[in-house]
């Protein structure tokens, strides 16, 4: 759903996770019937193979295996890891009293002598193809009109954007989970109150709050902005968690815990929430991908990260006027936003698939071969 800013979280699949359904199917598969019609037989054989594949594995193990098999998610994870390493190793870390120098020679704050007419010096075409060889040059991503090194700026912007999306993800997941769990578990008045509070937070324009915060705490940096954004975009997660808790609290294991004398908080955090972890993780990832777009959008409008510091959105905003003369100032930060958001979205998709109990697609190759063999066999038996 898109919201007021044109950024949002991709919609969840409309289906509710129906674990009982898969349990039923598994039971069905284990029981043997000799007079079953071929179609049913075929399904049972298939299920038996699937069952065999996950035999003796814990739930966490199964989810992990499914996730590892999701090619898109694995590629995205690698890309994201490389991007994070690049951003933090190149220009070093300068935060929380820590001052580590990176391997990159230029500072992002200082202008340098203009080389190559400020054009990017990065060259990727090897000499035997008629290019100038693979080399970085002095300013691989080019420079702006004053001489700032774009590579250093983009790396700094990326550090900011990554920090913001991480903090936003953490804060919003914590707040959303707690509010959703409390509302769903205690129900009644408290639930009503919390859900109306959620409505209020949804309805207050985010851009306004960001602007107000930005103005009031002009110099406290982007960390505060991240925390505030996190305190504002937990709403969809809270609703999802509430729905999940509402169904989970009626299950037998909750009754068992209650009879054993566990306190409400213990039941909530030890028994119910671990069972809702799928919804929480998936939603947290998608919130993060929405957060990076939100941050860049706000910075673009001038309400996000403020002057001496840079972020990817702010770089694009600052240089959007010079698109005709220096397109690289615009291309590089934009591409990195896309790379980060895209890989997070794919990771979220992979996690969603991995947590889905009805997922049948990602069998490994040998199991797939066995499945098609079984199908043929069943078809022959039926004919």
């Amino acid at each position: 759903m898109s919201n007021f800013y044109g950024v949002g979280v991709p919609p969840e699949d409309p289906e509710k996770r129906d674990k009982e359904d898969s349990i039923k199917r598994e039971e069905l598969a284990t029981e043997v019937s000799e007079h079953a019609p071929s179609d049913q037989l075929e399904e049972r054989v298939e299920n038996a193979i699937e069952l065999k594949e996950i035999e003796g594995l814990s739930q966490g193990r199964i989810v992990f295996r499914r996730f590892v098999r999701h090619t898109g998610a694995m590629i995205s994870l690698t890309v994201l890891f490389l991007v994070v390493v690049l951003a933090f190793s190149s220009i070093g870390i300068d935060a929380l009293g820590l001052h580590l120098r990176g391997w990159w020679k230029w500072e992002y704050t200082l202008p340098h002598n203009i080389v190559n007419g400020a054009h990017p010096t990065l060259s990727l075409i090897p000499q035997w193809l008629g290019g100038s060889g693979i080399s970085l040059g002095d300013h691989p991503f080019g420079q702006d009109e004053v001489g700032h090194d774009t590579f250093a700026q983009v790396m700094r912007g990326m550090q900011q954007s990554l920090m913001i999306l991480f903090v936003v993800g953490l804060v919003s997941t914590a707040v959303g989970t707690i509010i959703g769990a409390v509302a769903g578990y205690f129900r009644g008045r408290l639930d009503q109150l919390l859900m109306r509070l959620t409505d209020v937070v949804i309805i207050v324009p985010l851009i306004l709050l960001a602007a107000v915060i930005g103005r009031t705490f002009q110099n406290s940096g982007s960390f505060l902005l991240a925390v505030v954004l996190g305190l504002l975009i937990w709403t969809s997660l809270a609703r999802l968690v509430r729905g999940e808790v509402l169904t989970l609290r009626e299950r037998e294991f909750v009754d068992a815990a209650k009879v054993a004398g566990a306190s409400s908080w213990r039941i909530m955090f030890r028994h119910i929430l671990p069972n809702a972890i799928g919804v929480i993780i998936v939603s947290a990832t998608l919130t993060m991908s929405a957060a990076i777009l939100l941050e860049t959008g706000l910075s673009f409008l001038g309400f996000g990260v403020q002057f001496p510091d840079v972020s990817l959105g702010k770089l694009i905003s600052d240089y959007s006027a010079s698109f005709n003369t220096r397109p690289w100032l615009f291309w590089w930060p934009g591409s990195f936003i896309v790379i980060i958001a895209l890989s997070i979205n794919f990771i979220g998709d992979g996690l969603r698939d991995a947590f889905d109990p009805r997922q049948k697609r990602l069998l490994n190759r040998s199991a797939r071969a066995a499945k098609s063999a079984a199908r043929e066999k069943a078809a022959n038996a039926g004919a």
Binding site: P10, V200, A341
Partner: protein
């Protein structure tokens, strides 16, 4: 039902009031609305400050000033609706009215297109699950979803608008481009239609060849400089539309439905010249509306006359066809005005606009004005469309896949129904239920204006108004009354569309009852 609705409504109004109080007070405390005057060097500085304090009641502390604003709202009941004034002393209501109109224009077009395209693409990907077509669409929708809209917008401005305008100077398509586009078209159709290798090859060949011929024709006749369809193309396209709509809506086996839609096409073609003659007289939106109503009635009558097993199927099919046929004739008429528009003094041969919602001082007929809105809407709509398309595509796909796994679909297949009937009548309709609610909610959210899109394209809508009040572009801030005006519209839209979504859901899904 009534109790449910009234309870929801009351709760929403309370939420809205609380939120509006928070917004008002926060905004007021975020800055000093007299800042620009305090630092000014004007002689009459003191009078100016006093005037503004008087006009905006700045002598009242914000947490009480809210109630002055609120009383203006309440006076709406006795016909004196008042949202206060902005810092320049203009009434917010008039400013808001204009902004709402232009935002609605932008958002409605983009949302409608996104829904139509998104649903169609979603259905095709669901029907071709786990094919390379499905994977490519999934990748593309994730990609569009990950694009910052302002980045996309600047790209569109640079590459689409400017290059297309350059292209229009000499509209000849290079052979290399024709080749690439034809290959892409071939691959796309091959992916969508699927089938065995033989069928795929044939699909590829036909699609690529057709595209190449059409493009070559456009290039050779310099069609883009003098676009137009003409009666023959309208007729041929109409026949195509008739067959397509009948296939989807009734199935070709239903002869009566096919005959009704073909009759509509023949009648539409016969009226081509008379209509064009009619359009020589000054035309307005009302003329078009009246013609559309007449056309729908006539089409309904044709469907009814042909009848069939189920009369209403024929009526429905004929009605859909007549809408599309009318659209074809209108598009043709607009194209006839293209030359007048593109070569007018104000446009100067570069018709695709990158800024604003209309060309200032453009004088022209209804058709020229329409083309002007079209060229201005094109880019922002494209940006919004690409950004929101992903959501609808994914959602439709998931929803249809869910439905296709249901037992009643198996039953329908077991009865021996055709695949068309299974998909269109049993699966698609049920898959639409969750989509309608998403559409309602989305539309409510979008009315607030696409802030970023409006800024990039210089569109003076509610987003722009909001930003200006927040101090973008050096205007004094915080300008609380316009902010509250925009907030009121978006808040009410959110509440109304939320309710609407609930109502639609309950009326479409008989399993859900509200109490």
């Amino acid at each position: 039902m009534v109790t449910f609705l009234s309870r929801r409504l009351i709760a929403s109004i309370i939420v809205l009031l609380v939120a509006s109080y928070i917004v008002y007070v926060l905004t007021c405390y975020s800055g000093d609305p007299l800042q620009d005057l305090r630092t000014s060097t004007a002689r009459n500085k003191q009078t100016l400050i006093e005037n503004r304090i008087h006009a905006l009641n700045l002598d009242v502390p914000p947490f009480l000033r809210y109630f002055i604003w609120f009383s203006g709202l309440l006076r709406g009941f006795i016909g004196q609706f008042d949202l206060g004034k902005n810092i320049q002393g203009q009434a917010v209501t008039s400013q808001l009215g204009a902004a709402m109109g232009s935002t609605l224009q932008l958002v409605t077009t983009a949302t409608l297109l996104a829904i139509i395209v998104g649903v169609i693409v979603g259905i095709t990907t669901a029907l071709r699950q786990y094919t390379s077509y499905d994977y490519s669409v999934t990748f593309l929708s994730f990609l569009f979803f990950s694009l910052p809209i302002f980045w996309l917008a600047v790209m569109l401005k640079q590459y689409l608008a400017i290059n297309f305008n350059d292209f229009l100077q000499d509209p000849v398509i290079a052979p290399g481009i024709i080749l690439i586009v034809s290959l892409i078209a071939g691959i796309a159709w091959l992916g969508i239609l699927g089938g065995g290798w033989r069928k795929r090859l044939i699909t590829f060949g036909i699609a690529a060849l057709t595209t190449a011929i059409v493009l070559e024709f456009f290039s050779a006749t310099r069609w883009f400089a003098h676009p137009g369809l003409g009666i023959v193309v309208v007729f041929v396209l109409g026949i195509g539309v008739a067959f397509l709509v009948t296939t989807l809506s009734a199935g070709l086996a239903n002869r009566k439905a096919l005959y009704s839609s073909l009759s509509v096409v023949v009648l539409g073609t016969a009226l081509y010249y008379p209509l064009n003659y009619l359009f020589l007289y000054p035309t307005t939106g009302w003329t078009i509306l009246i013609l559309a109503i007449i056309a729908l009635l006539v089409a309904g009558a044709i469907g009814w006359f042909w009848g069939g097993v189920d009369r209403w199927v024929s009526v429905r099919t004929a009605a859909i066809v007549v809408v599309l046929m009318g659209a074809l004739i209108l598009v043709d008429r607009y194209m006839q005005s293209w030359n007048v528009y593109a070569n007018s003094d104000e446009i100067g041969g570069r018709p695709i606009a990158t800024i604003g919602s209309s060309t200032p001082d453009l004088i022209g007929s209804f058709w020229v004005q329409g083309l002007d809105s079209f060229t201005h809407l094109l880019l922002p709509t494209a940006a919004l469309l690409l950004a929101s398309l992903a959501g609808y595509t994914r959602y439709t796909r998931a929803s249809l896949l869910e439905v296709m796994n249901q037992d009643y679909i198996r039953t329908a297949r077991a009865k021996g129904l055709s695949e068309r009937a299974v998909v269109m009548r049993h699966a698609f309709r049920n898959a639409l239920i969750p989509i309608t609610t998403i559409v309602a909610l989305d539309f409510g959210a979008l009315i607030g204006g696409a802030v970023i899109t409006e800024r990039v394209f210089g569109w003076v809508g509610m987003g722009q108004m909001f930003q200006q009040a927040l101090g973008a572009g050096g205007s004094p801030w915080p300008d609380v009354n316009p902010i509250m005006g925009v907030f009121l519209v978006t808040g009410i839209a959110a509440v109304v569309f939320n309710l609407l979504a609930d109502l639609i859901y309950t009326s479409l899904d008989p399993r859900i009852r509200v109490s």
